[in-house]
Subunit: 312 residues, 2 copies
């Protein structure tokens, strides 16, 4: 089943202990699409400037990603500059230029409208909501957000959360959103805001899913369903952590969209595929690694993740 | 099979967001013994002062722990005072009084000498080595250490590491010991120092085992065996994190000592039982929770951990 994703397509200048890259292709929608493209059909809604040319377009084309919803306008694309010199788990932002993104008005191509899965990447919740409302018939909606929207755009964000099947955020964002420093209590509070499932990403420690009683993914029948934890791969070298969370989301949602049925078992496998795609993303700068994977490499790593966590 | 453990038996005054307790029974050997006592016979080597009386002794007796190796001397027992007010993952030490522990000379009762398992809890590596050498015939030796010994007693510690089957330490200690900030590279460096298996404890994120090619626990046959990751239970409330790592070690080593054979499968279950005992320990102050568990509660939580991590 096809996924429509709305989010940023951008250029990133990145410095990590492994080196530096100038203006590589980035943005949440880019990482998400590439990761999801190994599982299902992906359609992107974004805006880019005149600096987005054939070379960038070719990255999407090579993976069969539909970019008819990527609007080209006058000006420059969204640009981010950051480093991870002291801490690979947290980017230090040196510069953010919204450029054409500042006036982004998502337009949904008619041909995208039969998408059954919708992913609202990390953008202004007002825009997330507008896209959500323009696609009322989707089967499953997942979304991401970040500290900036949680702190300063809370009312708009709370409206978005009401309509989400799955929210994917990290530990800090979960605790900030709930105003509670205990992860389990914070997760419970976030679920009460609307999402039926909350996936909390822990970076190098994997991710934990928390379920409400209304989640298709919950196996539990008690008062409160048990969570589910997917590991991350202990890696020799993290070359560039940029996009790991978006790649997790792409692997996760891409697998779900490809699953014959939305069951707790499919959800668990989706969590593992999320971790798998996140682990590939950080092995090279930018989207390099995500551009040239094979399904066999992905499934071999999935087996490794099983081996890494299963008793037998 | 019986385990002999050498380490501290102490009094702790602890403050956490959940409250404060004065002079509760603590010490690494105490937490370890209680946790291991649900799986196998445990024998303790330690030293206590005149403040260690019938009430404390009864805690060990109730769990059938052999305390004939606990020496009673004039003076006061080891005392630690700490708090976790800002960060539940890291204790802030307010006071440490070694007291009778300062002159501790471990004496191994004759009746302990047929123990097949030996655990060297976090004490001066010179003493760890002495006990290790006095029990040359044990089948499996595991040990713990801490930043203080890593920083200021490195040569003595390196001697201990050479003789260990399993070293259990946390992320920070692993990176400090190896002088490397990447966990996988650090683990490789630590394994090269001697331990055949390294268990790195991640607090609320569980623990990861790394194996050398000489580890009984390794399933891999390639150049470098794959690691194994056990989860921690996402908890509603962490009342008191004191002793979580020692309880992990007790559950882990206790289960191993009770296993019919030392196989990779037994090792994996041992990692899960370690996490299980750690998760119980933090639910109440001090050793309260570890004093009154049933094997059924333990096995139910083991099943929950499987549910939390397994695809099917």
């Amino acid at each position: 089943m096809a996924i429509t994703v709305v989010g940023s397509v951008a250029f990133d200048s990145i410095e990590t202990p492994s080196g530096r890259r100038e203006r590589c292709l980035g943005g949440a929608a880019t990482y998400f699409s590439l990761a999801a493209s190994y599982f299902t059909e992906v359609r992107v809604i974004a805006v880019v400037g005149e600096d987005f040319g054939k070379r960038q377009e070719a990255v999407f084309q090579a993976r069969g990603i539909d970019t008819r919803g990527v609007e080209h306008t006058a000006g420059k694309s969204f640009f981010w500059e950051g480093s991870y010199l002291e801490n690979l788990n947290e980017a230090k932002t040196h510069n953010t230029e919204l450029n054409v993104f500042a006036a982004f008005e998502p337009k949904i191509p008619e041909i995208y409208r039969d998408s059954e899965f919708l992913f609202l990447a990390n953008i202004d919740p007002v825009l997330q909501r507008r896209v959500r409302e323009a696609m009322p018939d989707v089967r499953l909606v997942a979304g991401d957000t970040m500290n900036y929207w949680i702190k300063d755009h809370r009312p708009a964000l709370l409206e978005v959360l009401k309509g989400l099947d799955v929210l994917l955020i990290n530990d800090t964002e979960t605790k900030m959103l709930a105003g509670n420093n205990n992860l389990v209590q914070a997760a419970r509070a976030v679920l009460a805001m609307g999402p039926r499932t909350l996936v909390v990403k822990h970076g190098e420690y994997g991710a934990t899913a928390f379920f409400s009683n209304h989640s298709f993914a919950s196996k539990g029948e008690g008062a409160e369903p048990h969570p589910f934890r997917a590991p991350a791969l202990p890696l020799d070298e993290v070359v560039d952590p940029t996009g790991a969370g978006d790649s997790f989301a792409g692997g996760f949602f891409g697998y779900l969209a490809s699953a014959p049925e939305l069951t707790p078992a499919a959800f668990r496998r989706a969590m593992f595929y999320g971790s798998v795609m996140g682990s590939f993303a950080v092995e090279r700068f930018g989207t390099e690694r995500l551009q040239q994977l094979s399904r066999k490499e992905i499934d071999d790593r999935f087996s490794l993740f099983r081996e890494l966590t299963h008793l037998d």
